[in-house]
Amino acid sequence: MILSGPVRRPPLAVVLVAISMLALGETAGAVMSRLKPEIQRYAAARVTANAGAHGFSGSAEYDDEVRDRAIFAAEAGLSFFHVHAEGVGLVLFFASTLAAATVPWRRVRATLYLLLTLGGLYGAAVLEVGRDVGIELAERWILTPLGIAAIAGLVGLLLVTARRRA
């Protein structure tokens, strides 16, 4: 089967989410690189301001270690966001174009757009990184459902494409 002629595009809302994710990913990468000392200072200040939440003991050595770990986690969160926003933006763009071009049923197409777009927001959700309870909350309520939406959308697209080929 050869695709020829014009290829249909997904709705503008889906394209907007994909391009926004790419733009956010690029900007986060630049911020990470240019403002590294400022980010570290800000994270350190926030950790110190919320000493109780981070389990500070009053011992400088122990507290410094806890602070360093929290700063590292904050930086890793930004780094994950940069990588995931770029990747998921591209996945959303190409998968939704594939859905627009190959899925003939309107409702199925709309469902796939919805799942893929929710999955696209996964990139933004990755920014929600905290330690322990924060990570658990982010995983349970944000990362897992949006990740599942992306996977469900892609599997749905795969099934529809396979069915069309048969």
Partner: protein, 179 residues
């Protein structure tokens, strides 16, 4: 299968844009393969070049101290090559996707051309900064090499991509509101 008379078709960006994007991906692939195939040779070259400039790298002639400094520089040298590989592959795809959106959505000819030019040059140029960084580490040291790559490549090309992407995002939002 022919998708005929589609109400909302994609418009393909100019051919030179696609050529640049594919070239970026090809360079990334070659870079990745070269990194794996010539790892030993590349490391040896970088190490010899650093040993030839002890003052630049702060080598003091004490083996234990110098080896730690050399190891750190070699890790960064290798990281630069890896980051070039990853970014050139990714940005090639980003160029294809984003210029397709610009070609389809931007109605005004000048805006469309400027956005496409910024996305293409920025996207293809930015990853080269990692190669520049790696190549300069042996001669200029970690920090100076980073500063040169930053001002020569990362800031101008990265800014071009970021400006174009937010411009495109704004255009898309306006198109949605205007409908």
């Amino acid at each position: 299968m022919t998708v005929a008379a589609e109400p909302h078709p994609w418009r393909v960006p100019p051919r030179w844009v696609l050529l640049v994007a594919v070239l970026s991906i090809v360079c990334a692939e070659i870079g990745g393969a070269s990194m794996a195939r010539f790892k030993v040779e590349l490391t040896r070259w970088a190490r010899d070049a650093m040993l030839a400039r002890p003052a630049v790298h702060g080598l003091v002639g004490v083996r234990d101290v110098d080896e730690r400094i050399l190891d750190e520089a070699l890790v960064k040298f290798d990281a630069g090559l890896r980051l070039f590989h990853m970014h050139a592959e990714g940005m090639g795809l980003v160029i294809i996707a984003t210029t397709m959106v610009a070609a389809t959505v931007a109605r005004a000819g000048v805006a469309r051309r400027v956005i496409i030019a910024l996305l293409t040059t920025g996207g293809a140029g930015y990853p080269v900064g990692y190669l520049v960084w790696s190549a300069l580490i042996p001669a200029y040291g970690l920090e100076r090499a980073k500063t040169i790559a930053e001002w020569l490549v990362w800031i101008p090309f990265g800014s071009a991509t970021i400006v174009a992407l937010w411009w495109l995002t704004g255009l898309l939002a306006l198109r949605m509101i205007g409908r």
